[in-house]
């Protein structure tokens, strides 16, 4: 979808995946096209559609937009950096 979005000059949202989720999807960064009304939850649903391996993360995934934790129903803006974070285990 990256190339499709770019070719039309559509405003983009960057989607980041980390750790086990990144490995499950086989990719850590995806650019998707922005459209008004797009929520983090909608992006997640779309990701699961393309990468069913992400399904097990659904209940525990946290969402961050522009480096801040946000609720899943957060509306996105063009240029946002959206990240899906599996349960953290730093320290």
């Amino acid at each position: 979808m990256t190339e499709l979005a770019r070719s039309r000059g559509t405003p983009l949202v960057s989607v980041l995946l980390f750790a086990a989720a990144r490995e499950a999807a086989g990719r850590g960064r995806i650019e998707i096209g922005y459209r008004p009304g797009l929520t983090a939850a909608a992006v997640w649903e779309r990701l699961i559609g393309e990468h069913p391996e992400l399904e097990p993360f659904a209940a525990s995934i946290s969402v961050a937009v522009n480096h801040r934790f946000v609720p899943r129903d957060t509306l996105l803006d063009p240029g946002d950096e959206l990240a899906f974070l599996p349960p953290v285990s730093g320290g």
Partner: protein, 143 residues
Amino acid sequence: MERFRITGEPLDERAVGSGLATFEDGAVVVFSGVARGRNRGRQVLHLEYEAYEAMALPVLRGIAAEVRERFGVERLRIHHRVGRVGIGEPSVVVAAAAPHRRSAFEAAQHAMNEIKRIVPIWKREFFEDGEVWVEGPKEPVTG
């Protein structure tokens, strides 16, 4: 000495608390999280940490702001290592200085609890026969 640091280099535990106390501080607490050679009965060969660094640093700053507000502790440093960490090596060092010991302990302990709960860093354990991503609290963080 940077207050917050995510680094691929070995942490200098000794340096993190050094010079942190001011004239009015009577207590310094330094916590080191060390890579354990055994976890849930299995021998661990080494660890690997991955960070969402652009987010981890502001989250650490937010933790420090909360520590200041809750415990009145302003002198706090948090250094976290990423990449491969050998057994016995520190993966995180937190140092807190305060006039009295109680708030220094509370600050360091609360910072560590929050690091475990919300800082976007992930640990992978490597065993003789495989590897596993460690998952922390399953409850999603919602801001």
